[in-house]
């Protein structure tokens, strides 16, 4: 539409540029600011009135002066999408980083993405086998779910994410997931690590990678996940693929949000994060799901490192309120040399129940995992007691539970980085360790499952 260039920039503050006396400009429109040296920067309209238009610059404002010109494109931020994006590595704002050609668009889509009508959504209930026991057995992931990994700095969340990306499959179907990877503010080293792993395992050919590195402008982080999710929606709903979206690190994204909020002189909410952070995060996470009558789906695994391992930090907290559960990595397990250091006690998959059981995983899945949860929780409580009174003071029964907790961590939680466990294997392993506690203590399990699956009944040997 209008390509009139305005030279009326009146104020530049943080990532914001204020332009005065323009023709009417639409809210959310893309603006292009041209520096005197001819360099072009993109931004988006945040506030539009007759007197002044506020532009939020995606690539930062350094180098912009009042003499720069601004023009408005007349449309909101759209991105080119195409099937050929699979196998490509792009920057945080969608430019090729792999030396390949520009994306030839099959379509151009608005990156904000509309909300799925709840009426059009389909229930996520297809089990995704990740090959990781603590997830498959205890916190099952299903197609269309958003299940974040809550981690901390120095924990191997990247390894877990990569392992999931590599091993994830829907049982009974031979189709592999297309992986869309959105990196926000990660270090160059981490980026290299991801790239190497994608290339080594051949995962790159079915992946689209967006990289916003730690030294890229923070503001670009706001659009990176939206580009990733728009691509995912295209692959899922237009091309019918099962898409797995991995976003890392949400904490960096939220820092960027806060930075912009501060620059806009907004009233801050908790710990300085903007009051609309819940809605903002929901606009990302809620783009996971399935739609009735469509074969494709979007499953999201956002990764966030909890500042100070604090699960009540606003970022983790708000995320937990939007996502359908969380996988929590714990430092003490990591210190004890257990990989993946997933703490099942504080982890949860809200959609687990609809994805497990007869015809999905195995009929005894739910009671077995409930029993493991209960026994492990009890065993862990006893550890505290043992620290005070010593193991000898425990009753026989309690000692069995104490040992169970250790066994659980060593046998079920711990597994190799390349170890891909079938769900049957996971469940059988859970039965094996459950057999170490007296049978009458297995209160969560129906008699009939005990008779069918308990090792003592399968084989005529009494487990001790």
């Amino acid at each position: 539409m209008t390509s009139k260039e305005y030279r009326t920039i009146s104020q530049i503050a943080g990532p914001l540029v204020f332009v005065e006396k323009t023709e009417p400009v639409g809210y959310g429109e893309i603006a292009i600011v041209t520096l005197p040296n001819g360099e072009e920067r993109r931004g988006q309209v945040l506030d539009s009135s007759h007197d002044v238009v506020v532009i939020q610059m995606f690539e930062g404002t350094s180098g912009i002066e009042r003499a720069a010109g601004a023009r408005f494109t007349g449309e909101t931020l759209k991105m080119p999408v195409s099937q050929d994006m699979l196998g490509r590595i792009l920057s945080g704002s969608g430019e090729p980083l792999d030396g390949g050609p520009k994306i030839v668009p099959d379509d151009r889509l608005d990156i904000i993405g509309a909300a799925i009508n709840p009426w059009a959504r389909d229930n996520p209930r297809e089990f995704i086998q990740t090959g990781i026991s603590t997830i498959d057995g205890m916190n099952t992931l299903v197609r269309g779910q958003k299940l974040p990994i809550f981690s901390g700095s120095g924990l191997p969340h990247n390894d877990i994410a990569l392992q999931i990306a590599r091993q994830a499959k829907v049982l009974g179907k031979n189709e592999e997931f297309a992986v869309v990877f959105g990196a926000m503010g990660i270090t160059n080293e981490e980026a290299q690590y991801f790239m190497k792993d994608f290339e080594r395992t051949g995962a790159l050919k079915r992946a689209v990678v967006f990289m916003n590195l730690a030294d890229d402008p923070a503001i670009e982080r706001i659009i990176t996940p939206r580009l990733a999710l728009t691509t995912a929606e295209y692959l899922a709903y237009q091309l019918g693929m099962s898409v797995l979206v991995i976003l890392t690190d949400i904490t960096n994204y939220c820092e960027a949000l806060r930075q912009i909020g501060a620059a806009r002189e907004e009233v801050p909410g908790r710990r300085g994060y903007p009051g609309y952070m819940y809605t903002d995060l929901a606009m990302l996470y809620e783009r996971a799901g399935r739609i009735k009558g469509k074969t494709g789906s979007i499953t999201q695994i956002p990764i966030l490192s909890m500042p100070g391992d604090d699960i009540t930090h606003p970022i983790a907290d708000l995320t937990g309120y939007i996502t359908e559960g969380q996988i929590v990595a714990k430092r003490d397990l990591h210190r004890a040399g257990i990989y993946p250091p997933i703490d099942v006690g504080s982890s949860l998959s809200r959609l687990m129940d609809s994805g497990i059981g007869k015809g999905r995983t195995r009929e005894d899945h739910k009671p077995v995992s409930d029993q493991c949860y209960a026994a492990y929780a009890e065993g862990r409580d006893l550890r505290g007691l043992v620290a005070i009174v010593g193991k000898d003071a425990l009753s026989d029964r309690d000692r069995k539970f104490l040992d169970f907790a250790d066994l659980f961590e060593r046998r079920i939680v711990r597994q190799g980085r390349e170890e891909d466990r079938e769900i049957e294997t996971t469940l059988d392993m859970m039965w094996e360790i459950l057999a170490t506690i007296p049978e009458n203590q297995l209160t969560r399990i129906d008699r009939k499952w005990i008779e069918k699956y308990h090792p003592a009944h399968k084989k005529p040997v009494e487990a001790t």
């Binding site: 009417p24 400009v25 639409g26 809210y27 959310g28 429109e29 506030d47 539009s48 009135s49 007759h50 608005d110 904000i112 993405g113 509309a114 909300a115 799925i116 009508n117 709840p118 009426w119 059009a120 959504r121 389909d122 269309g144 779910q145 709903y237 907004e266 009233v267 801050p268 909410g269 908790r270 903007p274 009051g275 609309y276 819940y278 809605t279 929901a282 606009m283 809620e286 996971a288 799901g289 469509k294 606003p314 907290d317 708000l318 939007i322 996502t323 969380q326 809200r350 959609l351 129940d353 949860y373 209960a374 929780a377 005070i388 003071a393 009753s395 309690d398 009458n440 209160t443 129906d446």
Partner: protein, 576 residues
């Protein structure tokens, strides 16, 4: 009074316009696409509008049209079984109009204009009627929909006719004003009642921990706080499914899309345990997920409440669930901050507490103008950030509500469901409800409840000792207290929402279970006095049977059998 003006400024969902002079909370059509918005502030000749839809691409200079009316809900036959967004647009209609994703600029009337309902008048020409009085009935799904005289209207009936009509066909007239089965009501205003009553009848839910220990009354208010993943949503869904209300209004306010889908797909499949008809027949769902426009989220609790009050006015018991009021409060905060209002605590607007009280005060049991008694019970979920109950929304809520069901993540980790903490929860209705329990359940029910609470309290004290010295160091009688408390926890408090039998426990059964445990406890106490070890008691086959009885197909028979065999089983233990 000009009613067309132009946009002056657009900043997200907040649009400022000039050239119109509307009233506060009037509905405004914004821009060429006529997006729906509401006046939230008037400064001189400037009108500040919150828009319910996405405002991307809207420019200064585009027109705004003032409708002169506040946000209203269409009330009439056709509400039940419907699924709406926050401003009462039917989601299936939106899907038909815009596809799988919510786009904007589409209006869809709340009530279907084509379906005909059979209206049977109960008044005749020449009768004098007043507002809220019943004009006649029309069957709507599983209930009888009573057509009421619109509020504010009264006088002599000049004409009234029976037959099949749509909601917009005239069915008669009062004092020259034509009446239809549909009426409109501004959602932000409570519908009037004749007088409010003391809430002395419980709203039974079939959930043991709630009915037995922490009951809510019909017309009462309750809050469920809980960190994420404590089973708040499951508890609310159980309430919707099983509570003995006639009508259920469920507001999914700023919650997860997939969860809403679960509700949307679960409800139509569910059967009402009493009528054997689909539960959806008496349910109205309002779904406004977290990524749908924030202003519509803010409005959704009011639209839901208006629908609930409308059915109350016919004389029905309505239970309204709002999940979650924290998301509603956050919507207020978000809009308030866009208005650059001076914030109160944690960025929430200073009027947060006032708005919450206004909302909860719309609950209650009342004599309505229709001559019937009806009620609206409200269960509001709050989602305290970081599980911190001292945050403003939870605190403001707790000052108003009378029941508090404290969900606890520690219990969740132990897979104790529903994860309602029996030590921190409370119900201020137990006193007023005692008479009802004595007459309708059992004379000794309140005492039985106190006994159970006492045992649980003692257990908590003993647990502290156990933490230090281990349970083996306790004397036998205290070990027994722990064992009895454990029975109460495992048999009464824990309830499996997904188990066909256990999911619903009728009141007589709740009483029998507790009574049986009490008897078991009394006999155990005698046995322990006769030097039987607690370990022996807890390993009794009868104890195991009692523990599993709630999962038996024929649970009532099983409980009776256990009761019959109990004396013999204890005799067999021997002892001194």
């Amino acid at each position: 009074m000009a009613n067309v003006g132009e946009i002056n400024r657009v900043a997200g969902p907040v649009v400022t316009a000039t050239g119109i002079s509307p009233k506060m909370y009037d509905v405004i059509q914004v821009g060429h696409e006529k997006l729906l918005g509401e006046v939230i502030k008037i400064i001189g000749n400037k009108t500040v509008i919150q828009v319910y839809e996405d405002t991307s691409g809207i420019r200064p200079g585009e027109p705004v049209i003032s409708t002169g009316l506040p946000l209203v809900a269409e009330l009439g036959p056709g509400l039940l079984g419907s699924v709406y967004d926050g401003i009462l647009r039917p989601l299936p209609d939106l899907m038909a109009a815009m596809g799988d994703f919510i786009k904007r600029g589409v209006t869809a009337p709340g009530l279907d204009r084509k379906i005909k309902y059979t209206f049977t008048p109960s008044v005749k020409k020449g009768d004098k009627v007043v507002q809220g009085q019943i004009l006649g009935t029309a069957p709507e799904r599983s209930i009888v929909h009573k057509i009421l005289v619109p509020v504010g209207m009264s006088g002599t009936i000049q004409e009234i006719k029976g037959g099949d009509f749509t909601v917009i066909d005239p069915i008669g007239s009062i004092e020259g004003q034509s009446i239809t089965m549909m009426q409109k009501w501004p959602v932000r205003r409570g519908r009037p009642v004749h007088n409010k009553l003391i809430p002395d009848i419980p709203l039974l839910t079939g959930q043991r921990v709630l009915d037995t220990l922490f009951p809510i009354s019909k017309g009462g208010t309750a809050a469920i706080p809980g960190g994420f993943g404590t089973g708040k949503t499951v508890t609310q869904q159980q309430l919707a499914k099983w509570s003995d209300a006639d009508i259920v209004v469920y507001i999914g306010c700023g919650e997860r899309g997939n969860e809403m889908t679960e509700v949307l797909s679960m409800f139509p499949e569910l059967e009402d345990p009493k009528t054997k008809k689909p539960l959806m027949d008496r349910t109205v769902l309002i779904a406004n997920t977290s990524n749908m426009p924030v202003a519509a989220r803010e409005a959704s609790v009011y639209t839901g409440m208006t629908v609930a009050e409308y059915y109350r006015d016919m004389g029905y018991d309505v239970s309204l669930m709002a999940d979650s009021t924290s998301r509603w409060a956050e919507a207020m905060r978000e809009i308030s901050s866009r208005l650059e209002e001076m914030p109160g605590e944690e960025g929430f607007p200073a009027y947060l507490s006032a708005r919450l009280s206004e909302f909860y005060e719309r609950a209650g049991r009342a004599n309505t103008y229709s001559g019937n008694t009806g009620s609206v019970s409200v269960v509001g979920a709050v989602s305290p950030p970081g599980g911190d109950l001292s945050e403003p929304v939870t605190q403001a809520t707790l000052r108003i509500v009378r029941v508090f069901w404290a969900l606890d993540s520690k219990l969740r980790e132990r897979r104790h469901f529903p994860a309602i903490n029996w030590l921190t929860s409370y119900s201020l209705y137990t006193g007023t409800l005692d008479t009802w329990y004595r007459t309708n359940v059992a004379q000794d029910f309140p005492e039985l409840r106190s006994w159970a609470m006492e045992v649980l309290q003692k257990e908590a004290e003993l647990q502290e000792v156990v933490q230090l010295v281990g349970s083996d160091a306790l004397p036998e009688e205290q070990k027994l207290t722990l064992e009895v408390a454990r029975m109460i926890r495992e048999i009464v408090l824990q309830q499996n929402a997904y188990h066909a039998v256990d999911t619903y426990s009728p009141m007589p059964r709740q009483y029998t279970v507790l009574k049986t445990i009490k008897r078991f406890a009394d006999l155990s106490k005698k046995a322990v006095e006769n030097e039987v070890l607690v370990d022996v008691i807890s390993n009794m086959p009868l104890r195991t049977r009692l523990g599993k009885s709630k999962f038996e197909e024929n649970v009532d028979q099983e409980l009776a059998d256990i009761g019959n065999e109990m004396d013999k089983a204890f005799d067999a233990l021997g002892g001194k």
